[in-house]
């Protein structure tokens, strides 16, 4: 049962990810990315990481992709076909990085995992094994003890980014009510 579901979600993930890259219409690409995030959330659920799966949908599919869609709709890229040397160089870099990533992935998959041989590379150490992975309380305990420093650094980074956005939005317009409206829409 689990294997069937895994193959289903994994196939959906691969197909939708390919469509993100290959589809010509940017809005459709973005929608396929939403589907890809949802199938990834399904795989998290199968790994008993329910919290991660749900947060994946809330944060990525529900919030970040909506903002992506906003931007794409404003830009109206639908009829633009990009050409030129820059694009060719960018494509070349893309192929190179992709090939490198594939190589790294293949090496990792081929390497013998801890306790097993090949293919199934587990986590380096199971800090939250089995059912515990979905337990919100234990995740919170880990975040606020062992990973407190990275956690706080990340939140400061986000705070700085947020203040930066507000400063940029304020700098361009003089009228205070106008700028606050822009800031609230951009957040």
């Amino acid at each position: 049962m689990l294997a069937v579901l895994f193959v289903g979600f994994a196939a959906l993930l691969v197909v939708t990810s390919l469509m993100v890259v290959l589809h010509k219409n940017p809005v459709t690409s973005a929608l396929f990315l939403v589907l890809a995030f949802c199938s990834l959330a399904g795989i998290y659920l199968l790994l008993k990481a329910e919290f991660l799966g749900m947060v994946q949908i809330v944060v990525y599919a529900g919030a970040i992709m909506v903002l992506f869609l906003f931007v794409i709709m404003y830009l109206n890229l639908q009829h633009d076909v990009e050409t030129g040397v820059q694009i060719a160089v960018r494509r070349g870099i893309g192929w190179l990085v992709g090939a490198l990533l594939l190589l790294v992935g293949a090496t990792l998959l081929g390497a013998p995992a801890h306790g097993g041989s090949g293919w199934a590379l587990g986590p380096a150490n199971d800090e939250l094994p089995g059912v515990e992975a979905g337990n919100v309380a234990s995740i919170g305990r880990l975040l606020y003890s062992r990973y407190l420093f990275p956690f706080e650094i990340t939140s400061i980074l986000l705070l700085v980014a947020m203040i930066g956005v507000i400063v940029i939005a304020r700098g361009r317009t003089r009228r205070p009510d106008e700028s606050s409206r822009r800031a609230s829409e951009g957040a």
Binding site: M1, E50, F51, V66, L69, M73
Partner: protein
């Protein structure tokens, strides 16, 4: 057949499917009569009678409405993005139906489809996906009013989602679980201060630090379901009909189905978080007058009663308050609701920590 039935996975899957079918049809019926109720209540609020021609008291009106919608001609704008135009109304309905998988409508296991340990997060995830229907519907129509309505709604829903998520956190702190069944189970019995019961049910709303979260949740619920006074996406005075300007026939009806289903879902979550879910003071059962002693279906009755009260409140508010202006709406969300919700999380956390309830 009997051999197949003896596998536990097959049994649970079959029961889940049966429950899904029942819930789907119950929701469809409930929504059509919710619209009837809305028109009736609206009529009486405005000193009219409301629909009263089709059937006794106009009770067959929903059926006539749906039949009319089914036979209407479907119109698709020439420059519309056809595929997304078709997908958007489906996206309006499916998050609401998915959320019903985790809502406890009575004591488990009979009246709950599934009890997962992140039930509340599933609700938040699905309500955040609800934005897509409106944004995409507005964009794919290739109509400026529809697009403006769609953009407004996404900004509105993203802003109010944060306050809604934060307003549920004090409930989580109190009950210590994200499972909706668990949250309801911790609201059983009488509200006690020390050993003496206060003769108040132990529902969330009767705890002082959960009153403000409930108010915030209710306000954000109006914004999330795009209903008055927050129905900016379809402000007909300025945007024709908003995001569904170009929709007709059953596709238009699907948007409405989605709106009313979301109303039912959000009211159910409010009942679950703040009004003790299926618990109710003794109608009939047991020495203590509490449901754990009575039959399970009484839980369903209590749940439905509370649900109907909240939905009446939704309709009442819609026909009472005028619509807010867009910048007022955004300012209220970011500058009032969000800070209030954050402060409330702090207050609840400190109170629970000091009292040693953690």
């Amino acid at each position: 057949m009997a051999a197949l039935w003896s596998i536990p996975a097959v049994q649970s899957a079959t029961w889940a499917l049966v429950k899904v079918l029942i819930i789907l049809h119950a929701m469809l019926g409930l929504v059509s009569y919710l619209i009837y109720a809305e028109r009736k209540i609206c009529g009486h609020i405005q000193a009219r009678t409301g629909p009263n021609r089709v059937g006794p008291l106009g009770l067959l009106q929903p059926i006539a409405d749906v039949l009319k919608l089914l036979f209407k001609e479907e119109f698709i704008p020439a420059e519309a993005n056809k595929v997304i135009f078709h997908i958007a109304p489906i996206l309006a309905v499916f998050p609401a139906i998915v959320t019903f998988a985790v809502i406890p409508m009575g004591p488990p296991p009979m009246f709950v489809v599934t009890d997962i340990n992140v039930g509340l997060l599933l609700f938040l995830a699905m309500s955040s996906l609800g934005v897509y229907a409106i944004t995409l519907g507005g964009w794919a129509s290739n109509n400026k009013y529809a697009l403006l309505g769609g953009l407004r709604s996404s900004a509105q829903m993203i802003s109010y989602e944060l306050a809604m998520g934060l307003s549920t956190i004090p409930v989580l702190l109190k009950s210590g679980t994200l499972s909706l069944v668990g949250i309801v189970e911790r609201q059983a019995g009488w509200y006690q201060v020390g050993p003496t019961p206060l003769w108040l049910p132990n529902w969330g709303i009767f705890h002082w630090y959960l009153v403000l979260p409930f108010v915030i949740f209710l306000i954000t619920a109006f914004a999330e379901t795009n209903r008055a006074p927050f129905d900016l996406p379809e402000a007909e005075g300025e945007l024709v009909a908003g995001f569904h300007t170009e929709y007709s026939s059953m596709k238009w009806a699907l948007f409405f189905l989605g709106e009313y289903m979301n109303m039912i879902v959000i009211s159910s979550i409010a009942v679950t978080l703040f009004f003790g879910g299926w618990h109710g003071p003794g109608l009939m059962f047991g020495a203590h007058g509490w449901l754990s002693e009575g039959p399970g279906w009484m839980g369903l009755v209590w749940y439905l009663l509370k649900l109907f009260v909240l939905m009446f409140f939704f309709i009442w508010v819609r026909w009472t308050f005028p619509r807010l202006r867009y910048d007022q709406l955004m300012g209220f969300g970011w500058k009032v609701l969000l800070p209030a919700a954050i402060v409330n999380v702090l207050i609840a956390a400190v109170w629970l920590f000091v009292r040693g309830g953690m």
